[in-house]
């Protein structure tokens, strides 16, 4: 066991308590800053490793990490099974389109839209959470499924009213001109600094994701956060303890929906185009893969799951490129489908053998080293 004992409350309140944690934090921050620069280097790694594809996958994973972690906030900590979470990605992309600088938007900048989207998401989240006051468990799961279909219809109607059958496009956001004096901001000939390409987007998405994750981790350390857990464990008992169960549930819905909506805006702007095709019912399956493989009751699980979801296809594709596998015709033809099948099997295997997912695996490894050479 480590010999660190907490002696006062101030110390106990800190997120980072021990020296190893501090070291991990510093290394992590340095690595995070270094990765986009390393990705910029023109370098061919051995074995044709798909180094370049990392940029996009990282950004997608970061943007999705907010959504997946927020899903875990609601499911893992508050115990409310809501499948309507994918619907808030739709809400986010619609907010981005209505307010944004696209052909049919109000012309607001992305930096204004992001906080507004969080508020919109929270308000709609409360509305969607209302059924949670009446039904629970599987019945809530079903009720929120209805919300998902409603959101898809809304998006389809909106798309039909604006861009007809084309996808809704999102123009690249720019840094306002009064901020151009900042270092690393080099405006182009037109005097604009557009956020385009994986490198620049990384510096937008990464800080927002970090903020959202820190926010969620901190919410769970407050009175409200503990109330979430109490409601999950036993809502009748929680009510007897003086927790307002209805308000707690709605707060959890609001917080988590706001985060997912932000994630939806970021995704829409990063991918630059969204259509009703991109928001099918299958998006629920994607969220399921992320949360299950990551581990569906921790914030860390959501983040790990999102990275798994976007990084694993790269690795699988890389493996498929190896000589002897590449020569099999069937694998070549069905590459993407094999990925999907592996994901589906991963869900089953994880839930049968390691229900805590990657986050649980991480905890096991940590415990192993902490208690070495003892087993318990």
């Amino acid at each position: 066991m480590s010999g660190k004992y907490i002696t006062d409350y101030r110390e106990d309140l800190r997120l980072i308590k021990t020296t190893p944690q501090r070291i991990v934090l510093v290394v992590g921050v340095l690595a995070t800053i270094a990765i986009p620069f390393i990705l910029q280097i023109d370098w061919d790694p051995p074995f044709d490793y798909p180094w370049r594809a990392w940029g996009t996958a990282l950004n997608l994973a970061l943007a999705w990490a907010i959504g997946a972690a927020a899903f875990n906030l609601l499911l893992g900590y508050t115990g409310q099974i809501s499948i309507a979470h994918a619907a808030f990605l739709i809400v986010g992309s619609m907010t981005g389109a209505i307010l944004g600088q696209g052909a049919f938007g109000l012309g607001w900048s992305l930096w204004v839209i992001l906080p507004i989207a969080a508020v919109v998401g929270a308000v709609i989240g409360v509305l969607v959470g209302l059924p949670a006051l009446r039904v629970r468990g599987l019945y809530l799961f079903m009720a929120t499924l209805a919300v998902h279909f409603g959101a898809i219809l809304l998006f389809r109607k909106y798309q039909l009213a604006t861009t007809k059958f084309n996808a809704i496009t999102y123009p690249a956001p720019s840094i306002p001109s009064w901020l151009h004096w900042l270092p690393f901001i080099n405006p182009d000939e037109a005097g604009e600094f557009l956020i385009k390409g994986d490198f620049r987007w990384f510096w937008v998405i990464m800080p927002i994701t970090s903020l959202c994750i820190i926010y969620m981790v901190n919410v769970l350390r407050t009175r409200e956060g503990r109330a979430f857990v109490a409601v999950r464990d036993n809502d009748v008992a929680a009510a007897l303890l003086g927790i307002n169960v209805a308000r707690t549930k709605l707060r959890a819905f609001a917080a988590s929906s706001a985060m997912v909506t932000v994630s939806g805006v970021l995704l829409a702007y990063f991918i630059t185009a969204r259509s009703d095709e991109s928001w099918s019912i299958e998006i629920i399956l994607d969220v399921a893969i992320m949360t299950v493989v990551g581990g569906f009751s921790t914030i860390r699980g959501g983040v790990l799951g999102a990275f798994f979801f976007f990084m694993a296809p790269l690795w699988l594709e890389w493996i498929r490129g190896w000589g002897f596998i590449d020569s099999v015709d069937w694998i070549k033809k069905n590459g993407a489908n094999i990925d999907v099948m592996i994901f589906g099997l991963a869900i089953i295997v994880v839930l049968v053998f390691k229900p805590e997912g990657l986050a649980g695996l991480w905890a096991d490894i940590k415990r192993y080293f902490k208690q070495w050479p003892f087993k318990y």
Binding site: I81, Y139, A146, G150, L153, A237, F343, L345
Partner: protein, 291 residues
Amino acid sequence: MDTFLQLTASGIALGSVYAMVALGFVLVFKSTDVLNFAHGEFLMLGSFLALTFLVEWNLNIVFAIVAIAFIVAALGVALHYGIMKPLVGQPLFSVVLVTIGIAIVIRAFLLMTYGPLERGRILALPQGQLDIGNLVIPYVDIILFLVSSAAVVIFYIFFKSTTIGLQMRAVAENLEAAAAMGVSPNKVFAVSWGIGALMAGVAGVMYGNFTAVIDLNLAAIGLRAFPAAMIGGLDSVEGAILGGLIVGVSEQLAAGYFGGDFRDVVAFGLMFVVLMVRPYGFFGTKDLIRV
């Protein structure tokens, strides 16, 4: 009025398919407490197998239905022994997620085998139509209704008057007491999975004759079992039949009057309203909450 009758007629045909799907879904939920998200994929598997059997191999339709029913039922039983059995006692949502995993695997399998292109509907049933006044009822609709009714009736007799049906009801009522009386819950679970999958598979074959195109969106039709089962009450066999008919008719009416986009929304919106007003459906049992 003519439009209304016309839509209602085709709604009843569609609803009878939903009733069959919902029945299998409710059966699995009732005895094993598993909400099977992969139920739509079972249906889709039935439709795609029907493509192979009826369109590619030109087999007799009765033989094809029996063969497909057997294959899908075997798959259901295999799923129980292979995957669901070790999961007994896990939290509710992890079991739901496992069925989502199964759904993903079946989808991927179908994509690999049949490719992403959509296929036309199966034309194995007689294609004429029956004219009653202004009402036009295709033979397919009638056969659909008859087959579904037959399946439902056969199931109902099986469920109410055979030994294994009695055992199924006993396990659903009280698992420990049933086990103490010598009923093997494991066997009952397996049979429930088998019959549940079988219903979905047969419904898939029938629906393949009814739908416009066969592609991976068919799974959404299987998901329609959710609102059907919910409206009737999640643990009620009679409710599933009624719920299926209600969903089918209201969906056809909505699609006829407002446009096809409203199909999903009406089915699930109706379920939403029922859930809010009567959370346990029309026939479901209300469970008590204890600390």
